[in-house]
Amino acid sequence: MTGEPVVFVVDDDEAMRNSLKWLIESTGMPVRTYGSADEFLANYYPGRAGCLLLDVRMPGMSGLELQGHLARHSIRLPVIIITGHGDVGMAVRAMKSGAVDFIEKPFDDEALLNSIRNALAFDERQRALQTQRAEIAARLAELTPREHEVMDMVTEGRSNKEIAIGLGVTAKTVEAHRARVMDKMRAGSLAELVRMALIASGEVDG
């Protein structure tokens, strides 16, 4: 569904767009260019993997506004800001609102391409984590309430005995619950189970 990651370029200057496309395609990454933020929004569908190269200075919706729009719509596309000389202040604002990097014109090609690669890697990781989280959530949904309790206590690092006392059941019962939890969560080890619990609670970025 997500397909191959794409580098989206939004710049009002056509020569700029085309030269960027020319440069980035030299590495083999697919590039889509748009002349304005509106054009990009009209063609982008959420979930597409990739990163966004965004010129901060544009007529119509500016780069910063587009960034804000994406954030509001929970589109977690990594954004790299392109700035001209003297737009550093604006670039800082962009970074503060979540851009992963900013690149000053004229470009050092290696730096730009590195930045793109990093952004794409970041995007991929995010997506993987997202998938994992969804999977873990699905598995968690299969647990009974009592199994949930047992899992919570196990991941907190309590022994079977402690859990038995805490829940007022026999250690054997806890053992059985625990085995079922491991089974349902498809965790090979206790460490894996703990990791799943952390991912599910959002404490780990992946």
């Binding site: 020569a15 960027l20 395609e25 030299s26 200075r57 014109k105 004229p106 090609d109």
Partner: protein
């Protein structure tokens, strides 16, 4: 006629006799008169008194005699008692025991004193006693001691009767035994053991010796005494048998004597009626009467003398006093009433004189009073006329009210001002008629106040300002004064009403005028020629503080002198001065008629500061404007050029990568190369357009004095230099240095140089900061030299000083000097720098002098 003559003669006589003499005469006469009357009246009274006196004296003597007798008897009792209880008797009786025999033979002591009677005083102890008996309890005589020859009375031969004895105590009995009066005194006796033995009885014949002893020789001759038998009035015994013969009847003696008979009730135990008689011979009585009479007369004489003396003294003192009073009164009359002194002669009768004088005085006083009354009436008439005239002529309204506040009189002015015809307003209430309702209460209070003032005494009349209402309804401000007056127990009020409309207006006018000064936001002062501040309005506070003075004190000497000069000159003068850090513009205006100088000050600090600031701002604005324009142009230019350049870089990098990677068909590469060329052309086009834009403006040239520019620039940096504590030393060429320049650009250049110098000086110690600006003209050129004592310029840097983007400052762009150089080159001038070995930096700016120097100078002078 005779009587009249006599009277006047007497009167004249009386006048001549002085009062003291008269007083003595009258006193004597009065004394004699009193004496005569009293003699008559008192003669009889005296006799009565003498009789009474005599009687009482006789009574007294009789009582005294009797009491002496009684005393003597009681003394005798005491003696007997003493003997009866004497230890000798007790010792004698102790071994005795008397049997109760029928008949007892008493032991008789004739020649010798018995051993039971004390020795020494045997004779004296019992004077006149004839027998001393010891009897037993039955009354039988046991022992007898005869003191004389007389035998024991026969009545006692058988024993002593019980009536003479007292079983318990001593008893004295007057009795008659053997036809002789006898005193029988008995007392109980006891033996040594306390056994009652009987009684000791002493018989004492009452004869002339006894009586004489009893009277102790007192009044012996003048008042002999005797015992008289009460039954037959016969004398039993007398104190002096030669004088009063015993055995005779009392009546026989009454011819020659006054006889007083007194009973002797004190001696019980006898039924014998015996009387005690006191005889006083008539000779004696008369003697007494005479003595009393003498005494009386003497007293009367003394009284009369004292009376006359006192009377005379009093009259004398009164007359002496009268003399003085008369003198004083005459002096007083002379002085007080201005009338001649009435005739007054000392040494005559003062009373008469007083009478005459007082008559005379009364007449004079009456005359004076008449005169005064006439004068007074005339004065009253005059004053009435005067008052009426005043009332008539008064410009103020005068209204008289009675106690109830009703009008009883008013003058024509009141009629006219208040607009009420006399006949219409008389008898009507003033307050209702002429006062608006709002003022009536106050008016009533004023009346009350006036009345109180009248009661409490001298106080100024009640005064107030209030509005009165004319009969036509118009209200006019009035000053009102109320004077209360009491006439014949009635209270009246005189109201003086003064129309103060005009005065009010004038006051308001003056007040409003006076406010101009006090309200003025600028300091206004009035000063005496010596410099003393007599008035200062509120706004002059800061000025006064700065001068260290205040109203009543003097201005600083410099200003006091200025004030004096202004007044002497009689003309206003202006001056501008800095006082207490503020710049003031002063106008000193003399007030010749009052000898003052008014000082009008205006704080122009702000104006001056604003002027300076506006100049500075203007310059800075120009500078900033230019800089920002330049900056914007530069930024825009950079962005514009950056775009194609970035595209070129991207295309070139893309090509390189493709060629390195061996990928990429030549068609695409060629297209990219074409793109590179297109973008390069685009960049060059942008630059061309920009240059065309800049090159459009024609140069501006104005003729200015370079010195003026330098001063102006210095004023721009005044704030900074003063902050740094630096004074820019100006060494300017004399005369003008005219140049044809773009004013703003050259100012910019100079400002740039000065700023650089200031920045350099910021790095050195404040005390060694120095900045000199010189101007001079040399060979058709004007030169400005800016020389600072800063760290100087390193020799290595000196050649690059004017290269673009070369800067030593952290904040600098490195464009100041290149731009300056460009500007100067455009003006046909140049700029260069030196760094002398001594330190510091020197910048030289040269500009060509304007061609028509003389013309310019002439134009400037015109």
């Amino acid at each position: 006629m005779d009587r009249l003559h006599l009277k006047s003669f007497l009167y004249r006589l009386l006048r001549r006799v002085p009062m003291p003499v008269l007083a003595i005469l009258v006193g004597l006469l009065a004394g004699l008169g009193v004496w005569g009357v009293l003699e008559q009246v008192q003669g009889r009274a005296l006799q009565k008194i003498t009789q009474k006196e005599l009687r009482s004296e006789l009574d007294l003597r009789a009582r005294e005699s009797l009491s002496r007798f009684n005393q003597y008897v009681s003394n005798y009792e005491s003696r007997v008692r003493l003997l009866a209880s004497h230890r000798l008797l007790a010792r004698h009786l102790t071994p005795q025991f008397w049997f109760a025999e029928e008949r007892v033979e008493p032991r008789i002591y004739q020649q010798f004193r018995p051993d039971w009677l004390p020795d020494s005083r045997g004779q004296d102890a019992l004077p006149g006693a004839s027998h001393v008996l010891l009897v037993d309890t039955e009354g039988r005589i046991r022992e007898v001691y005869h003191l004389g020859e007389e035998p024991l009375p026969v009545e006692l031969a058988a024993g002593v009767p019980a009536q003479y004895l007292d079983p318990r105590a001593v008893r004295a009995v007057l009795t008659r035994l053997g036809d002789r009066p006898l005193l029988v005194v008995s007392d109980l006796t006891e033996d040594g053991r306390g056994f009652e033995m009987g009684s000791l009885v002493v018989l004492v014949p009452i004869d002339e010796r006894f009586l004489a002893a009893s009277q102790e020789g007192q009044f012996f001759e003048r008042a002999p005494v005797a015992l008289v038998d009460g039954d037959d009035q016969r004398i039993l015994a007398s104190v002096d048998p030669d004088l009063i013969l015993p055995g005779t009847l009392v009546d026989v003696w009454k011819d020659d004597h006054l006889v007083t008979l007194q009973s002797l009730p004190g001696y019980e135990g006898t039924d014998w009626n015996v009387l005690f008689a006191t005889f006083v011979s008539h000779d004696n009585v008369e003697k007494i009467a005479r003595r009393v009479g003498h005494f009386e007369r003497r007293q009367r004489v003394i009284a009369a003398v004292v009376f006359i003396t006192v009377f005379t003294m009093v009259i004398y003192l009164v007359s002496a006093r009268l003399n003085r009073v008369l003198k004083r009164m005459s002096r007083f009359a002379q002085r007080a009433l201005d009338i001649e002194q009435p005739e007054f002669r000392a040494g005559a009768n003062q009373l008469v004189l007083l009478e005459e004088w007082s008559q005379h005085f009364t007449q004079l006083v009456l005359r004076a009073r008449d005169e005064m009354r006439r004068q007074h009436e005339s004065a009253i008439r005059q004053s009435e006329a005067l008052k009426a005239a005043i009332m008539e002529a008064s410009l103020d309204s005068i209204v008289t009210l009675d106690r109830k506040g009703q009008i009883i009189d008013l003058n024509p002015a009141a009629e006219q001002i208040l607009g009420g015809a006399r006949e219409q307003v008389l008898g009507r209430g003033f307050s209702e008629l002429f006062l608006p309702p709002g003022e009536r209460e106050r008016f009533d209070e004023l009346l009350q106040a006036a009345r109180r003032a009248r009661v409490t005494g001298r106080e100024p009349p009640a005064r107030a300002e209030l509005s009165a209402r004319r009969s036509d309804g118009r209200e006019i401000p009035m000053e009102l004064s109320i004077v209360p007056l009491s006439l014949e127990a009635q209270v009246f009020y005189t109201l003086y009403l003064h129309d103060v409309t005009k005065r009010r207006e004038a006051e308001r006018e003056i007040k409003s005028l006076a406010r101009i000064a006090s309200e003025s936001p600028n300091p206004i002062l009035r000063v005496t020629p010596t410099g003393q501040v007599v008035y200062a309005n509120a706004a002059s506070g800061a000025l006064l503080v700065a001068w260290g003075t205040r109203p009543g004190l003097d201005l600083p000497p410099e200003w006091a002198g200025e004030v004096g000069e202004t007044l002497a000159a009689g003309q206003a003068r202006e001056r501008e001065a800095e006082v207490g850090g503020q710049v003031y513009s002063f106008l000193l205006a003399p007030v010749a008629e009052l000898g003052y100088v008014n000082i009008y000050a205006r704080d122009i600090t702000e104006v001056r500061r604003a002027e300076q600031q506006s100049r500075q701002h203007q310059a800075e604005l120009v500078h900033v404007c230019r800089l920002s324009t330049m900056g914007e142009v530069a930024t825009g230019m950079a962005h514009e050029i950056n775009q194609p350049l970035s595209a070129i870089v991207n295309y070139a990098n893309g090509c390189t990568r493709r060629l390195q990677g061996g990928a990429g068909d030549s068609g695409a590469l060629i297209e990219a190369m074409g793109q590179i060329a297109t973008q390069a052309q685009r960049a060059s086009e942008i630059i061309r357009r920009l240059r065309a834009l800049v090159g459009k403006q024609p140069p501006v040239r104005n003729r200015v004095d370079l010195n003026h520019l330098v001063r102006e620039v210095c004023s721009f940096v005044e704030f900074e230099t003063s902050r740094m504590g630096l004074e820019v030393a100006l060494d300017l060429a004399t005369g003008e240095l005219p140049v044809d320049v773009d004013l703003v650009q050259i100012e910019q250049v100079l400002l740039n140089l000065v700023r650089n110098a200031l920045d350099a000086l910021g790095d050195v110690a404040p005390e060694s900061r120095r900045l000199v600006i010189r101007t001079r003209s040399t060979a058709g050129e004007a030169e400005v030299v800016v020389e600072d004592s800063g760290p100087g310029i390193a020799p290595a840097r000196l050649p690059h000083l004017f290269d673009p983007f070369f800067t030593t400052k952290e904040t600098g762009m490195g464009m100041g000097l290149p731009i300056s150089q460009t500007i100067l080159e455009n003006h046909g001038g140049r700029v260069w720098a030196e760094s002398p070995p001594a330190g510091g930096a020197v910048f030289h700016v040269r500009l060509p002098l304007a061609v028509e120097v003389t013309q310019f100078a002439v134009a400037g002078a015109a």
